[in-house]
Symmetry: C2
Subunit: 333 residues, 2 copies
DNA sequence: CTGGAGCGAGAAACCGGTTTCTCACTGTTT
DNA sequence: AAACAGTGAGAAACCGGTTTCTCGCTCCAG
């Protein structure tokens, strides 16, 4: 034939016709209902293969009342922090016969709300990772009654399921570590303004005087570039140790320090947070706080699964972190 | 009320009833058809807001015959190589009123095929990024007749739309650069076995003798860990320069070299590939090849859009790369 | 031999939208 | 004043599945 005709979709009716069965029977075979005679089932299967039939996701979704999709919204896909979470959630979802629809809000709180609304139309359940949207928006979303779980954000007085990381303790551990090394004055390089993770770090640091630490905060960000840019100011602060918002920032600081001839940890101690892969490979390797991201993802995925099956009794969980002491921190010289 | 009854979904019929209109009219208002009297339209809009109505994605997808979703399959979400691609494609898709369904095959060719089949049921179009699946599988997928675009893989004799990166020229540029610096013997740390990107690098390197270079290859991988592990073998190869599969591998090598007291570039030159952010911040910064990933994503997104609207005449494109000379390469001492 | 239980499989209702078809009503033309 | 084109809006068909309902048939007990 000259022009292959615009291949019309193969439907369940086509399969039924070819197999000499009804659509109901084809549906039964497809869904593993065992009340179909072996011979008929075989004919149906043959027809399916023969025609290359694949059920329409939309039609199935409509008929079944659920799409088999769970949505995951992250502020930044480029942040490895979320990769392990996405991978774990995907694994859990896959085991439950669902797939994961990942979206990226680009750190934009407005887009975040919009995407959340959109995802709610597509997905059976929703996982909001580290949402930056204002409390009111979050409240509105939670009020929609859809199965939804939030990670790394707690909103007092709002009934939403959440799984968080114990950033507070992580920062405390860092403070204790630095205090033990004899540091007295430290500088904190702040993360994104709207991030709960940043709020928690600040909250913990506000109690650092208990360790005999004097903490000053500088605005910074969450990327290597921003760390690099903030390094000089950190140096000028007169502190003997830098607590970076995360490992990326720390690596940026480290790079700039190297250029400036500042020796780590002899001249200045430096800590990160999250324990990304690269943290082990810098010179010196970073003292940081390990966040069990895959565990977080797994817990979140399972909790969301329970929420979707109607279990309202999910208790908020806070996963523990672990201090990793490496070469970037030392006694003051 | 004591128990809020399991909130049934608000449907278009509910809106119609409340507004005193027909479902057809509600649909018209929703889709901006302007043949509705202003007063009626206003009542409908009020009812929509009042009831908090959101159209079901499944029903819309079924009725419209398309889901408004495009699928993107990547081998590894944790690889920043794909972030910019995903972001660009998302942007293009969003501008066209679609959303992006991202999936991760975990570098598993079998899962890749399975996920591709699955995505085809959900999405209007499909972008396969750097697929590792065997030629036969790829042929089968292409044969399904769905709008589909492949990046970073060319399969001779197979009719599939593809956008590739000119790895070949990139490697040539590296070879020329190293040759000019006086290197004669270089070692290549190979990437993943099934990756076309690796094949292309090998193909380019097989012509490196034209530059007077003697190239030996060692199996390695694509991660920092694997680079770290391969560093010693690279050292023992007797080469004066290491061409790493990508920047991650190079950073791993660099870290191990630092531990071993091998000076870069004095004792050994080192190159990466891709230009990830971190490449600028290592000590010394990496000589690498910049791949315009966002551009690749943009081109891919637009091409896929054209394919989806029935344009069969997409010519394969190869985006150019650019050599970035930094401190990790130098003349042999 | 007959009434009823059990079971396989088709007909049809249904999921929630979009879109075509049809019609009542308006205003214009001769 | 009658015929007609134009327009707004409802009824109904349709998208492609799942699931309930129903029915005919077989098998077994009474």
């Amino acid at each position: 034939m000259v022009a292959s005709k615009r291949a019309k979709r193969v439907t369940i009716a086509d399969v039924a016709r070819q197999a000499g069965a009804s659509v109901a029977t084809v549906s039964r075979v497809l869904n593993g209902v065992d009340t179909v005679a072996p011979g008929l089932a075989e004919r149906v299967r043959a027809a399916i293969v023969d025609l290359g039939y694949r059920p329409s996701a939309a039609a199935q979704g409509l008929a079944r009342g659920r799409s088999g999709t769970i949505g995951v919204l992250v502020p930044d896909l480029a942040n490895p922090y979320f990769h392990d979470i996405i991978k774990s959630v995907s694994a859990v979802a896959r085991a439950a016969g669902s797939r994961v629809l990942v979206m990226d809000s680009n750190e934009d709180p407005a887009a975040e709300r919009e995407l959340t609304e959109d995802l709610l139309r597509y997905a059976d359940g929703l996982l909001l990772c580290s949402p930056r949207m204002p409390r009111a928006d979050l409240a509105a979303m939670a009020g929609r009654g859809a199965p939804m779980l939030v990670t790394n954000r707690q909103v007092p007085g709002l009934a939403l399921h959440s799984i968080t990381v114990d950033f507070f303790r992580g920062v405390m551990a860092l403070c204790g570590h630095l205090a033990r090394l004899g540091h007295r004055r430290v500088v904190y390089l702040e993360g994104p303004q709207r991030a709960w993770a940043n709020d928690e770090r600040l909250r913990a640091l506000s109690g650092a005087e208990a360790f005999g630490l004097d903490v000053v905060s500088l605005p910074c960000g969450s990327t290597t570039d921003e760390g690099y840019a903030a390094a000089r100011a950190a140096l000028d602060s007169g502190a003997t140790a830098v607590i970076a918002y995360n490992d990326f920032v720390a690596l940026g600081v480290l790079a700039h320090f190297a250029e400036l001839g500042v020796k780590v940890p002899d001249d200045m101690s430096l800590t990160g947070f999250d324990e990304i892969d690269m943290a082990r490979f810098s010179a010196p390797p970073l003292t940081t706080v390990a966040v069990p991201r895959d565990r977080l993802g797994q817990i979140a995925g399972e909790a969301l699964g329970r929420i979707m099956s109607g279990d309202e009794d999910i208790e908020p969980e806070s996963v523990p972190v672990e201090l990793r002491v490496r070469g970037s921190t030392g006694v003051i010289s």
